[in-house]
C-alpha cells in the first residue's frame, strides 16, 4: 500500500506491506514495524528494534504525532488522494484567513466587536481567559466582521470557530 506523508512541507512516498508491518524505502531499505496500542491515543512502536512512545491525535486534515516528547504534524495522503492530486483536484478545502479559530481553550471574557464592524489587521477582537491568564486575540486580516459564533461568557474548545471576517 502506498501513502504520501507530509511533515513541514516535506513529502515522502512510503510503500507498506498489507498489514503495515513492513515499510520499504527506495532504493533497497526495509524497516520492520511493530506498533501496539497502549491506551486511547498512546502507542508503543518498535521500529527496527528501536523503542518509541507515540501519542496520536487526529486533527482536521492532519495527525498530531508525539514521538518521545517531540511533536510532529503529519498529513497523510492515500492512493486515492494522490490520484486526485494528480488530476489537479483536492479532496479537502482549506479554511480561509478570515476564520478566527480558538488557538487555546478558554472562557470568552470580553468581546470587542459586533457583526458589521470594520476591523484592521492586529485589532483586538476578544479576550480568551484560561488558567488565570488573559490572552488577547487579534484580527489576522482587515475586513468586516460577518458572523460571530460565540458570546461573552462562553467556554470555547481549542480549534472552535469563533467568528468570520470577510475582506
Amino acid at each position: 500500500m502506498k501513502f504520501n506523508t507530509i511533515i513541514d512541507g516535506q513529502s515522502v512516498e512510503m510503500e507498506f506491506s498489507y498489514s503495515l508491518n513492513l515499510l520499504s524505502i527506495k532504493p533497497e531499505k526495509e524497516m520492520q514495524i511493530d506498533l501496539v496500542q497502549l491506551g486511547v491515543d498512546s502507542y508503543s512502536l518498535i521500529l527496527d528494534g528501536k523503542s518509541h512512545h507515540l501519542t496520536i491525535n487526529k486533527q482536521p486534515e492532519k495527525y498530531e504525532i508525539t514521538v518521545d516528547h517531540y511533536t510532529h504534524l503529519v498529513q497523510v495522503q492515500d492512493e486515492m488522494d494522490i490520484l486526485l492530486e494528480k488530476f489537479g483536484m483536492q479532496s479537502n478545502t482549506s479554511s480561509h484567513a478570515g476564520e478566527i479559530h480558538a488557538q487555546i481553550p478558554g472562557l470568552v471574557s470580553q468581546l470587542f466587536v459586533r457583526p458589521g464592524d470594520n476591523v484592521d489587521i492586529g485589532q483586538k477582537l476578544l479576550i480568551l481567559e484560561a488558567m488565570k491568564m488573559e490572552n488577547e486575540i487579534d484580527s489576522p486580516i482587515a475586513g468586516i466582521v460577518n458572523d460571530i459564533h460565540i458570546k461573552s461568557g462562553d467556554k470555547v474548545e481549542k480549534g472552535e470557530l469563533i467568528m468570520d471576517i470577510n475582506n
Binding site: 501513502f3 491506551g39 503529519v74 492515500d78 481553550p105 481567559e129
Partner: protein, 475 residues
C-alpha cells in the same frame, strides 16, 4: 492524623479528594465560587469539626482575613500570625519594614506614586531602566519596564488600570530594574519559642511570565560567603515581623553579586521539595508541629545541606508555542522512578484538565550527591515521563536542562527569553528516526480510520489484522 479535603465540582476525582479521609464539595469550577468561597469553606471547617486548617500554596493561603476567620471558628491556622501576613502581603509595607532592619531593598519608592512628576523625579534619582509594580500583589500583573522618561506617562496609566483590575488596588510604585538579576530565595522556619532557622537557598531564575519553571539548590551562582549573608539577612527580616511557621524571603542578586530584598512569602512554596531533599526534613510535618506550638525539630547548627536537588514544574502548556495552555483528558501517564527521583503530582489518568485553574500538574524532583548527578537524573527522569492526552512542559524542560547555559549553571532571569529561539530550533532538529516514527504512526492512524468505516458495513468475523496478515503471506 485524619485529613479532610475540600474540592470544586470538576475536582471530584482529583487525587487530593481520593486520598483524604473526608471530602466536601465547596462549589462549582469557577474559583471565586468554590476555592475562594470563604463562607462555604468556614461551614465545612465547622461541619467536620476540624482541629487545624492547612491553606496550601495558592488561593487563600496568604489572605489575612481568611486566616483570621479560620481562627475564630476555633480551628488552628497552620501558617504565620495574621499580623505577619498583613505586613508582608502589602509589598510597600514590607519594603518599609525591611528598610528599617537595615537590609538592602531594591532602590525605589516606599510610598505609592502620586503624580507623573513625582514619578519622573524618583525615576531620575534611581536611574533608568525602572520597573513599575503594583503594591497589591504579584504575578506580573501591573508590572512594566520603562527605559526612558518619554514612556513614563502612558505606561503608568496602563499599569494602574491593570493593577486595579487584578487586586482591586491601583497603588503602584517604582523600583530599579536590575542587570541580569538572579531570583534567589531563602527558606526560613520559626517556632513560637523564639527559634528562627534558615534552611538554605533556592535558585529560581528560570521563569516564564514571572512564574518559576525550574528551581535548584544550592544555587550555582553564589558562593558560601554570599550564601551566609543572604541567610543572615533572611533571619533578621523574619525576626523583625514576629514570624512563626514556614516562610520564604525572596532576593534579587544582580550580576555584580549585590543583593536586594524582593518580598516575603508567608506560606509554603511550590518549590519547597528541593529544600526537603537536601536537608532530609519534611516541611509540612514541621509546619504542623509549629502550629501545635511545639519546638522546631532542628537547630541552625544541625542544618547541613547534603548534595544537590532540582525541581521541574510540569505544567499543562506548550512551551514552544508561547506557553499556550492545554486542556483535555489525561489518557495515559507513565511516571519516572529510581534512586533520587521524587514525583509530587496532583493528577491521575482519566482526569480532565480544565481551564479553571493554574496549569500545574505536578512536580518532578531529583536529588544527587552533586549537581551533575542531580541534573543527569532529571534528564533521564523527564525522558521516561510520559503524559498523553494533553500538552505538557516536559519537552520544554528537557530542552532547557540540556542547553549549555543550564548545564554550566550560568543563567539569570533573562536567560530563558534569550535562548527561547535556540530551544525551538533544537526541538525541530530531532533525529531522523523520530521523523520516520511519526510518519508511520500517522499512516497507521489514517489507515485504521478508513478501515473502521469498511468493517461497519459487513459483519465480517475476520478482523483486519487477520485479513491483512493473510494478504502478506500471499505475496
Amino acid at each position: 492524623m485524619q485529613t479532610v479535603a475540600i474540592y470544586s465540582e470538576p475536582d471530584r476525582t482529583s487525587p487530593h479528594v481520593l486520598l483524604a479521609d473526608e471530602a466536601y464539595c465547596v462549589g462549582p469550577g469557577t474559583s471565586s465560587k468554590s476555592y475562594l468561597n470563604v463562607i462555604k469553606i468556614l461551614e465545612v471547617i465547622q461541619k467536620c469539626n476540624a482541629d487545624a486548617v492547612h491553606p496550601g500554596y495558592g488561593f487563600l493561603s496568604e489572605n489575612c482575613d481568611f486566616a483570621d476567620a479560620v481562627q475564630k471558628t476555633g480551628a488552628v491556622w497552620i501558617g504565620p500570625p495574621t499580623k505577619a501576613i498583613t505586613t508582608m502581603g502589602d509589598k510597600m509595607a514590607a519594603r518599609k519594614l525591611v528598610l528599617k532592619t537595615g537590609s538592602p531593598v531594591v532602590p525605589g519608592t516606599t510610598e505609592p506614586l502620586t503624580s507623573i512628576n513625582n514619578a519622573k523625579e524618583t525615576a531620575k534619582e534611581i536611574g533608568y531602566p525602572i520597573l513599575i509594580k503594583a503594591a497589591g500583589g504579584g504575578g506580573g500583573k501591573g508590572m512594566r519596564i520603562i527605559h526612558s522618561e518619554n514612556d513614563l506617562k502612558n505606561v503608568i496609566g496602563q499599569a494602574k488600570s491593570e493593577a486595579k483590575k487584578a487586586f482591586a488596588d491601583d497603588r503602584i510604585y517604582l523600583e530599579k530594574y536590575l542587570e541580569e538579576p538572579h531570583h534567589i530565595e531563602i527558606q526560613v522556619f520559626a517556632d513560637n519559642h523564639g527559634n528562627v532557622v534558615s534552611l538554605g537557598e533556592r535558585e529560581c531564575s528560570i521563569q516564564r511570565r514571572y512564574q518559576k519553571i525550574i528551581e535548584e539548590t544550592p544555587s550555582p551562582f553564589i558562593d558560601d560567603k554570599l550564601r551566609l549573608k543572604l541567610s543572615k539577612t533572611a533571619l533578621h527580616i523574619t525576626e523583625s515581623c514576629d514570624y512563626s511557621g514556614a516562610g520564604t524571603i525572596e532576593f534579587l542578586v544582580d550580576k555584580h553579586k549585590n543583593f536586594y530584598f524582593l518580598e516575603m512569602n508567608t506560606r509554603l512554596q511550590v518549590e519547597h521539595p528541593i529544600t526537603e531533599m537536601v536537608n532530609g526534613i519534611d516541611l509540612v510535618k514541621e509546619q504542623i508541629r509549629v502550629a501545635a506550638r511545639e519546638k522546631l525539630s532542628f537547630t541552625q547548627e544541625e542544618i547541613i545541606p547534603s548534595g544537590h536537588a532540582i525541581e521541574c514544574r510540569i505544567y499543562a502548556e506548550d512551551g514552544f508555542n508561547n506557553f499556550a495552555p492545554s486542556t483535555g483528558i489525561i489518557t495515559e501517564i507513565m511516571f519516572p522512578h529510581g534512586l533520587g527521583v521524587r514525583m509530587d503530582e496532583g493528577v491521575r489518568v482519566g482526569q480532565e484538565i480544565t481551564i479553571y485553574y493554574d496549569p500545574l500538574l505536578g512536580k518532578l524532583i531529583t536529588w544527587g550527591k552533586d549537581r551533575k548527578t542531580a541534573l543527569q537524573r532529571m534528564i533521564r527522569a523527564l525522558k521516561e515521563f510520559q503524559i498523553a492526552g494533553i500538552e505538557t512542559s516536559i519537552p520544554f524542560c528537557l530542552m532547557v536542562l540540556q542547553h549549555n547555559s543550564f548545564q554550566q549553571g550560568n543563567y539569570s532571569t533573562h536567560t530563558l527569553d534569550a535562548i527561547k529561539n535556540e530551544l525551538s530550533e533544537a526541538v525541530n532538529n530531532h533525529k531522523k528516526e523520530h521523523d520516520w516514527a511519526a510518519r508511520i504512526g500517522a499512516v497507521h492512524a489514517h489507515h485504521k480510520s478508513q478501515q473502521t468505516i469498511i468493517t461497519r458495513k459487513g459483519k465480517n468475523k475476520l478482523n483486519n489484522w487477520t485479513v491483512s496478515g493473510r494478504l502478506d503471506e500471499l505475496q
